[in-house]
Each structure stands twice: as C-alpha cells, then as structure tokens.
C-alpha cells in the first residue's frame, strides 16, 4: 500500500516486475517427507514464499467429545512465523490466521476419505516461514502432499493458485508486491479429476467478464500446480525405493 504508484508493475510488453509473463507461475519446489515426528509432511518454496506442513493422524481425537461418529475430524492450523512478514508479527493467532485455517480445512476436507476413519482426528499444521503472496494457495497445495505422505487416502490432490488484477490486467499467481498494489486477489483450490472447486475467495473489484476469464486462468494455473505436485510425489517415492526404505 505504501508502494509508490510510479513504479510500474507490468511493462508495456506484458512482463511483470519479476520477469514473468501475465499467465506464468513462479518457480515452485515441493518436497515430501521433510519432518521426522509427523505422520506426513511437505515443504514448499513457491517463489519466495516458504511453508512447512506437518500432518498428524488419523489419531485418537483429543478431547474425545469432539470426535465424530461417522468420519474423521479434520483441523487445519495456519500460522505465520513472527519473522515471515515485513513487520514483526505477534505469535498470537490473528483473525486472518483463524479464517485462513478454516478455509484451508474446507479446501482439503473434500479430498480426504474422512469416512474411512470415524472417531479419529487428522490435524494439518501449517507454518509459514516466509510470506510473499499466495500463502493460502501454497499451503493447500503442500498440505495435499503432506496428506499423501501420511498415507491418507485421497479422492484427488488439491491444487491451488490465485489470479490478481494488476494495473487493469489479470495476472496468474500473484506475489506479495502485486497483491498489495493490485486491484483484486482471487485464490482458488481445485481437484482436477473431480472438476471440484474446494476454495474460492475474492477481494477487490472485477467485472463479470474479468471474473469469467479469471476462472479459466485459475483452472489453467491449478493444472500446472497439479503437475508439479504429481512430480514431487513421483520423485519422493522413487528416491524412497532407491533408498530401499519406506517413504
């Protein structure tokens, strides 16, 4: 918001401030099985956004009275490290972190066969080490992989990405600078094989036409993330096999 508007975020030939094209996503690096004390884990570097996800479960619900008789109880905890953002952030969860925990849980739960694990809990802990835009998309995408790493049966991976409007143009995969200066932000989470949108939010102002274009762009972006997720899984299990150990 304090960015001077004189600095252009998109050049005349449609190149963004970090050199990307309008519909180009940032470099994304997923890694599974990075933590020792979880049932499953994943790490993602998504541009400069860096996030660790750990999954505990299915395990006994605690406290017990919160257990559900017909399915697993899924909880997500999205937290930002105090040093992950420009200004030092108090470790107490903000209202933003509370809301994001909720929508992230709701984005992931439709992908999990929760009905296989009645009376248990599946806890998804997300720690944002560095936030540079699209942290909820990166969290959801990485959490899908952590769930896979935990061996939890899933309907499909959930891939997620955001479209923004910057200087009047729709751009894929907004980074922090674009988000703050931009006119809108629209993250989506998507299970491609189910054609299922599990998260959709929007802030800002867009026309109906831009909305329709955004949905298309989001589907394209999610497919690219999805591809990277699949590669990460493949690499993980390949290396596990070559190491002669269980992933």
């Amino acid at each position: 918001m304090s960015e001077s508007k004189i600095e252009r975020l998109i050049s005349e030939d449609g190149i963004r401030c970090d050199g990307r094209k309008l519909d180009e996503i940032r470099p994304i690096k997923f890694q599974l099985g990075v933590l020792k004390n979880t049932d499953g884990s994943a790490y993602v570097e998504w541009g400069r956004t860096k996030i660790l996800v750990g999954v505990m479960g299915p395990r006994e619900s605690h406290p017990k009275h919160l257990a559900l008789s017909d399915k697993a109880r899924v909880e997500a905890y999205y937290r930002m490290a105090s040093f992950s953002v420009e200004e030092w952030k108090s470790p107490a969860p903000s209202r933003r972190e509370v809301e994001l925990s909720k929508v992230i849980r709701e984005a992931l739960e439709p992908a999990i066969f929760v009905e296989f694990f009645p009376r248990t809990s599946i806890d998804i802990f997300i720690e944002v080490l560095q936030a540079d835009g699209s942290t909820r998309c990166a969290s959801i995408s990485a959490a899908s992989l952590a769930l896979v790493d935990a061996g939890i049966p899933m309907r499909d991976l959930v891939a997620s990405i955001a479209v923004g409007k910057v200087e009047g143009k729709l751009v894929l995969d907004v980074q922090d600078k674009e988000d703050k200066a931009g006119e809108s932000d629209m993250p989506m989470a998507y299970m491609p094989s189910k054609n299922a949108v599990t998260l959709l939010q929007m802030d800002g102002q867009i026309t109906h036409e831009e909305f329709l274009q955004s949905i298309e762009l989001l589907k394209k972006g999610c497919m690219e993330v999805y591809k990277k997720q699949k590669e990460a899984i493949e690499n993980h299990f390949k290396s596990a096999v070559s190491n002669g150990e269980e992933a």
């Binding site: 009275h65 008789s69 509370v98 909720k102 299922a196 949108v197 109906h208």
Partner: protein
C-alpha cells in the same frame, strides 16, 4: 463423542423437492425469505439497523471513536468490523467462545464493505498522520435461522447508510466535537448474495435446515455498477466451476432486487449515493 445425526432423510427430501423447483418452506430455488430493515433502534449509536431475513435476525451498530491511523495510510480513517454471536441466537453458540465461524463472518462482512469502498475513509481524517476517526461496525447475531452472511452484511450496510457522524473542529492539536452531525461519506451500496449447493442444485438464501444438509455455501457481493467485490466459498464440500458461474449469474439478479429493497426501506435517493 459428538453425536452428529446426519440428516440424510431430510437431505433426500430437500433434493427431491428441488427437482420440481420447490423448497420445504414453499419458496422457489431463487426466492429470498421476507426481508425487513429497521434503522435507528439504538439512538446512542451513530447508526443502527435491525435486519431480518426470514427468522434470522441481526442488529448492527456504528460507533465513532477518535484514534490513531495505520502507519502506512496515515491520512485515512479506519473501519473495524466485528461479529458477535449472542448465545440465545442458537443452542449451538456458547457464551464467551470466540469462534472461527464468527471470525469468518466478520471478515466476509468486512470485505464486502471494504472492497466496494462503501466508506470513503479518506474523508475520516482529523489530524493528518496523527488522529483519525475509527468507525466500529459491529453486528450481533440475535436469531440464527440460516444465511447469517447476507443478514449480517445487510444489517451492517443499513446501519452505515442510516448513520450520521459527529462534526469535529480541529484547533491546533485539539479535537473539539461541535455536537452537530453530518452525513457519512458513503459511496456505494454493495449487496451480498449467498447460495447453498445441495446435490446439484443451487438454493438462494438457504434456511437453517438447508444449511444443515448443504454441500457448500457460495457468497458473492456486487457493487451498484455490477462489479463483483467479494466472493467466499464456505463449508467442506465442493462446487464445480460451471456451478460457480451459474451462482454468480443468479446472485447478480438477486443483488439488484435487494438493493432496490434497501433503497426503498431507507428512503435513499439511490442516485445520490455514489456522490457523497
């Protein structure tokens, strides 16, 4: 253990009925329940509104306070939106438990108002860089019979539209209230419309029993000029991209209908809003 009696029978009934375009309470799939808007109930607040959609009842109040601006926007007033669930609104609300549902509600209402720039915060500066008006917009859920988001958003909006603000006089570093009132710098009438997806049908303004069996919730807010200014998908089910597009189409129509209702209820000159 929490005993969730999954209301599968009711869900089946609701879906079957919807095949013929009807609902348990007699509405069509795109009908809202009755909407009532009463402003001015709380005279001590700068603005207030009691809004009901069907049996759902929300009261909103506006209070002004002198405070510090955010460092990055030193010359703008601050709008703060809060949502409280009064425990008598539903047997499920517990006293004193701040809840993710209340947080989400407050933030969705906030975004609907904020992103549409309903309030021109640049006109709420008192002493540049030092003192600005803090505008508290608080919604209290009094009775929960479904569709809290639309009811709360409408209550917050109506309270703002009906509010007047204190006139202040700056004398050096001192702020003196003249005791007079002036209109709020309102620039838009954003309307939020929520639909429930149940099976493969979309239900406008879901009732409490529909919410109990829904797959997911989809809310979208529109500005007067037809632009979208907020979207929120909720709950642990999914929606297809095609259903999203359909929901937005339906919501756009409904938003105009409700905006008309607001303008009539508050006796606004609709064309005047937007000038401020």
């Amino acid at each position: 253990m929490s005993q969730r009696i999954v209301p599968t029978v009711k869900r089946k009934q609701i879906i079957e009925l919807s095949e013929s375009g009807r609902r348990m309470d007699g509405r069509t799939l795109t009908d809202y329940r009755d909407i009532t808007i009463q402003t001015g109930l709380v005279e001590k607040a700068e603005g207030s509104a009691l809004v009901s959609i069907g049996g759902t009842k929300v009261v909103a109040g506006i209070k002004f306070e002198v405070g510090d601006p955010f460092p990055d926007i030193p010359n703008e007033g601050v709008m703060q939106v809060g949502a409280e669930f009064v425990p008598f609104a539903s047997p499920e609300f517990e006293p004193g438990k701040p809840d993710e549902v209340a947080v989400e509600l407050a933030r969705v209402v906030d975004r609907g108002l904020r992103e549409s720039k309903v309030l021109d915060t640049s006109k709420l500066c008192l002493i540049p860089g030092k003192k600005v008006w803090i505008v508290h917009v608080d919604v209290y859920i009094l009775d929960h019979c479904g569709n809290l988001i639309d009811t709360a958003a409408l209550a917050a909006l109506s309270a703002m539209l009906s509010a007047s603000m204190p006139e202040a006089c700056i004398e050096g570093d001192a702020i003196r209230l003249t005791g007079k009132r002036m209109p709020m710098p309102i620039t838009d009438i954003p309307i939020n419309v929520t639909l429930a997806k149940i099976g493969n049908k979309l239900f406008v303004d879901p009732s409490f029993e529909e919410e109990e069996v829904l797959d997911c919730r989809f809310s979208v807010a529109f500005k007067e000029n037809g632009m979208l200014c907020a979207i929120q998908k909720g709950e642990s089910g999914y929606i297809t991209p095609e259903e999203v597009l359909r929901a937005v189409e339906i919501a756009k129509d409904k938003s105009q209908e409700i905006r008309k209702k607001v303008v009539e209820s508050l006796k606004l000159k609709s064309d005047k809003v937007g000038e401020s």
